[in-house]
Subunit: 301 residues, 2 copies
């Protein structure tokens, strides 16, 4: 059915760094907002701005008719939607559910199937753009689900993002996010190897960047993360541990699809080495440390 | 010594696609131009515009005092400079030699050493930007050699390029070009794997691009070559066979430097498979065909 979003009560589950910014934009744009998060302290600033707190997803589900979720891992998505106190079992029929978490395509399909049984609409709608994109409401939102649900969601999604594309049926948002992560993974390997080669051959990596940044070697990673590597600033824009999670989802689903993706496999192997040396909570560009300490495994080159 | 380039007679060796455009710009900018190429027909249009033809590098070397070379492979660079009829043995002392070919760093150092013995200046100055960059005089030129030689060369290089950076002593231009190719190699793997995953998961790759092109996955490759892959247009911007040559130089020199670069090794292995299926003369983005035909080797993932 076609909804009028203007009168909707929005529920937001998961007010971590990303979710907090998103929920804040919804509040500022005049939506009535209910919130739940595993750690209440993380929702405090929203509550002070007028958001209504709930002690469980179930309680929130009973109050809202458009529910957005931004949690951590696929397991959390499963709990929040399908668990005993999950949204699916407590929300009113006709409600619209939007999962913004990067999660498993097959799980998205399963949630949609169960949502439809209860006459609910469900969209998988993972985002890219990171904490800065969330703060500035400039996220790219990749949406999977029915055309009707997508159209209903657009007025809400436009508050938090600028590039909102319906990619296809349920799971397509997650598949698209994996395309994004797959392109990033091997690219990061190339950037780290390029900087390591520059250093080893006696060049000044920052001067090398001046020569190569705007040509065929150019990329978001080279322009935004290579300078941080050179300055040894490994503060996380996006955590190593989350990237490993995403690469695992991509590898598992590519196996289901009968694909061999050696670039992705290599990147995952290198990132696992990185996690082993204690860099799980660094930014993804800390991959350079695997090269820096010469801890690269000999591959069958 | 400091030269006054305005009165220089320029010799240009190697008028293939790239060299032809470069030499044309020099002519149009009023330089007196002498040319030599292995195939005279390729220099015909320059001769008609007033360039003076020579039958050997040696003959050209005797007429010019600034010599630029843009040939194919390191073997050609060696022949043109150090061979029996090579430039080094016939050019006048005090001349400036600039090799624009992508070649081996150690060879650049050897040529410079021999050039200095004859009181010549030599620069390794490989370019990026491809045929379009050469045509539009918008190349990035990465220069290795002495500061003095670099300063002498700038007025000539500014005619063919826009980003002209002195990267360090002899060989540094080649090392920088390798940094460029290393960053490209793994990035291309990521882009191909991303498109293959999109297709296999039922997405429309062109629609996926709309979601991921301008975020963290974004790159020159994704914006410029992914659309050609999707349209199955594999016409060469840059040839597979030349890219394989470059990756071999990068791998050989990284071995000398004691580096392990598994992303580069993987890319080279995939491109060798591509060459084996007859795609040597396609553009580098034809790497997608290795995935398309599911001819990816099982790696130790």
């Amino acid at each position: 059915m076609k909804r009028t979003i203007d009168n909707s009560v929005i529920g937001f589950i998961g007010t971590g760094v990303m979710g907090l910014s998103m929920a804040g934009h919804l509040l500022k744009n005049g939506f009535s907002l209910h919130v739940y998060s595993r750690t209440k302290a993380k929702a405090e600033s929203l509550i002070q701005q007028g958001a209504i707190w709930h002690d469980s997803p179930a309680s929130l589900a009973q109050a809202a008719d458009v529910i957005l979720t931004m949690v951590g891992y696929p397991k959390d998505v499963e709990d929040v939607y399908l668990g005993e106190h999950g949204v699916i079992h407590h929300v009113r029929p006709g409600s619209l559910l939007i999962d913004l978490t990067t999660s498993i395509p097959a799980l998205a399909k399963e949630i949609e199937r169960k949502a439809l049984e209860r006459e609910l609409q469900f969209l998988d709608a993972p985002v890219s753009g990171g904490d800065i994109g969330a703060r500035e409401a400039r996220l790219s939102i990749m949406v999977g689900g029915s055309e009707e649900a997508f159209e209903n969601a657009v007025p809400v999604l436009e508050v938090i993002g600028t590039t909102i594309v319906h990619q296809g049926p349920s799971g397509s948002g997650q598949y698209t996010k994996m395309c994004n992560q797959i392109a990033i993974a091997a690219k990061m390997v190339g950037v780290c190897e390029s900087i390591k080669y520059a250093e080893a051959s006696g060049l000044d990596p920052a001067t090398v960047l001046r020569s190569i940044e705007f040509g065929a070697a150019g990329s978001w990673t080279l322009s935004n993360l290579a300078p941080r590597i050179i300055q040894e600033d490994y503060a996380p824009g996006f955590y190593v541990k989350h990237f490993i999670k995403d690469m695992q989802i991509a590898l598992d689903s590519s196996k289901e699809l009968g694909l061999k993706l050696p670039g992705l496999s290599l990147a995952r192997a290198l990132y696992e080495q990185l996690a082993e040396i204690g860099e799980e909570n660094s930014g993804t560009h800390a991959l350079y440390k695997v090269y820096q300490y010469n801890q690269v495994p000999v591959l069958n080159a």
